[in-house]
């Protein structure tokens, strides 16, 4: 008897007292769990590292500025990213946008040429055998090694920088696209043969979607590499851009500016990577697994 009584009481409390608050409590609970498991660990680690940095660089004789010093010295740059005093003396936002513009040109060209060449190499064994040795050798050439030759060819710094982006980003795009094309299941080909899709229909309706997960992983690697390359290339070519901003700050011994720029470079690179990943997820509609 006592057993049923406790059960009943439990049910009464459950149903009578908290139908709506229960949902809110559960939601709050999951939010708290997410905070504890996802947000708290990076906060603690970053906080700890910043404190360590502060401690190490606050000692007399430290060569690098401490975080608090960086913050005070760059406060004007942080709060006014859009100032424009002409020439190279523009706000951080303009510097980053100038770099992003170069990346946009170079990367777009790399996407078009890379996917095109990847499809060719993925489709044709002859093209694969002919081009693969070339790809394998050229892709190991460091981005900056391309800069002098492109300066010689284009006679201008801006197209040279764009070319460096292009040549850096294209290899993973080509290679991943061709692997994606080669891995299209034979069944999909058979389906398209039974339906009698023509070449163009097969390309748009079967080949690109089937290879999309691979293509996007190439695009993601490519965007990361092109951001790496632009910062290095801009140091050499000058003009407005986050790379030259860093070099300029070094020449003016503005170490705090360099640190701020590095943080921005990292954040922008992270955002570019996430953006391509997000587009990839949308386009492949979560079928990336296969």
């Amino acid at each position: 008897m006592s057993h049923t009584e406790t059960l009943d009481r439990g049910r009464l409390i459950g149903t009578g007292e908290e139908p709506v608050p229960g949902i809110w409590r559960a939601r709050l609970k999951t939010m708290r769990e997410v905070f504890i498991s996802r947000v708290l660990p990076p906060l603690i680690v970053i906080g700890g590292l910043v404190m360590l940095w502060e401690m190490l660089c606050s000692r007399p004789g430290a060569t690098l500025p401490s975080p608090s010093q960086v913050l005070t010295e760059t406060w004007d740059l942080i709060t006014d990213p859009f100032y424009d005093n002409g020439g190279n003396d523009v706000g951080m936002a303009w510097q980053i946008l100038a770099s992003l513009e170069r990346v946009a040109y170079g990367y777009s060209l790399a996407v078009i040429a890379g996917v095109g060449l990847g499809v060719l190499v993925g489709q044709s064994t002859w093209a694969l055998r002919g081009l693969d040795p070339l790809f394998q050798v050229l892709r190991t050439v460091p981005p900056l090694a391309w800069l002098p030759i492109s300066l010689a060819g284009f006679q201008d710094s801006n197209p040279s920088a764009i070319f460096v982006i292009f040549i850096t980003a294209i290899w993973p795009i080509i290679i991943n696209t061709s692997v994606g094309i080669r891995n299209i299941p034979e069944d999909y080909r058979n389906v398209s043969r039974v339906i009698r899709l023509n070449g163009a229909e097969y390309f748009w309706k079967i080949m690109l979607p089937a290879a999309a997960p691979y293509i996007f992983s190439g695009l993601r690697i490519g965007v990361g590499l092109s951001w790496l390359a632009i910062v290095a290339a801009e140091m050499l070519i000058g003009g407005v851009g986050i790379g030259f901003f860093i070099w300029d700050a070094w020449n003016s011994s503005l170490i705090s500016d360099i640190i701020l720029a590095l943080i921005y470079v990292g954040l922008v690179g992270f955002m570019l990577d996430r953006m391509v990943a997000w587009i990839g997820n949308r386009v492949t509609r979560g079928t990336s697994a296969g």
């Binding site: 299941p185 034979e186 069944d187 999909y188 058979n190 389906v191 043969r193 039974v194 339906i195 009698r196 899709l197 229909e201 309706k205 079967i206 979607p209 089937a210 999309a212 492949t284 509609r285 979560g286 079928t287 296969g290």
Partner: protein, 284 residues
């Protein structure tokens, strides 16, 4: 000259790989009447899928040929729609779009947009998938995927519907359910169907005739069994039907007495590996 709807005549098939030629099929002759349900049964590796792929036009016979409704088969086409063993739905398209891609291409000139839409919905309704039009293949069960695969094939209004072990990857209950559906659909549409199977019950329950194939290499048709059971067939009633059990016994004795598969692992691999690999590449 036969007046069969589908006729396979003198088909030989061999795969050449690395200098060695393996004969897979030898002298396959088969006439199928319009509206007939034919099953091809045999041990795995006997080349029954190769026969189906030749009829589908995905493979070209080394010699001999296939005629469907008076026309020679040279390449694949919607008049010989194929239901693949592993459904092969396109994972980036929804259930509706997977049927749509076939219908849009097949009936672009003969049906209006509204008619095509109605036709897609009709075919999905026929396999009871109307509730999941906007689902992706990854969001539905294996049995449902195969239903959509069947709807896609039916929607092409094929002269011959080809089923390549369509229920092989499904659990027993789902399989029975889908077999019933296929029987119902076939009785409604009176399709000509050719099905590959290795399931004896499935063959007897569904077929008008069962084509039993000998073991490879150089497999051929060993025996053809007419299944004269009245339709509609009910699997529960059939279980006690002496005729059903007789047919079942016939097939079993062919497979396990006359064509008992001798597993000689070592020699077997060495000799047949090439042909199997070639087939795997073609079918994968």
């Amino acid at each position: 000259m036969s007046n069969a709807y589908l006729s396979i005549s003198q088909v030989d098939m061999s795969f050449t790989r690395g200098g060695t030629t393996n004969q897979v099929l030898k002298n396959i002759d088969l006439d199928v009447q319009r509206g007939e349900f034919i099953s091809l049964i045999g041990h795995s590796g006997c080349g029954k899928s190769t026969v189906l792929n030749i009829v589908a036009g995905l493979l070209r016979a080394t010699s001999g040929g296939v005629i469907v409704d008076g026309k020679e088969v040279n390449d694949p086409g919607p008049d010989r729609a194929l239901v693949f063993q592993n459904h092969s739905l396109l994972p980036w398209l929804t259930v509706y779009q997977n049927v749509e891609i076939a219908v849009e291409k097949t009936f672009r000139k003969t049906k209006t947009a509204a008619e095509r839409k109605a036709w897609i919905l009709h075919n999905l309704d026929m396999v009871n998938m109307s509730h999941a039009l906007d689902r992706l293949p990854s969001e539905i069960s294996g049995g449902m995927k195969q239903r959509v695969g069947i709807a896609r094939a039916l929607a092409m209004e094929p002269k011959v519907l080809l089923l390549d072990e369509p229920f092989g990857a499904l659990d027993a209950l789902t399989r029975a359910h889908l077999q019933d559906e296929v029987m119902r659909i076939q009785s409604e549409l009176a399709n000509t169907v050719m099905m590959i199977t290795h399931d004896v019950d499935e063959a007897v329950l569904l077929s008008d005739r069962i084509v039993m194939m000998t073991n490879g290499p150089a497999a051929t048709i060993g025996q053809i069994l007419d299944v004269e059971l009245p339709r509609p067939r009910d699997r529960i009633a059939m279980a006690d039907d002496p005729r059903y059990n007789h047919y079942r016994h016939e097939v079993l004795s062919f497979l396990y007495e006359k064509q008992r598969k001798v597993e000689e692992i070592d020699r077997h691999r060495g000799k047949r590996g090439g042909a199997e690999a070639a087939k795997a590449v073609k079918r994968a």
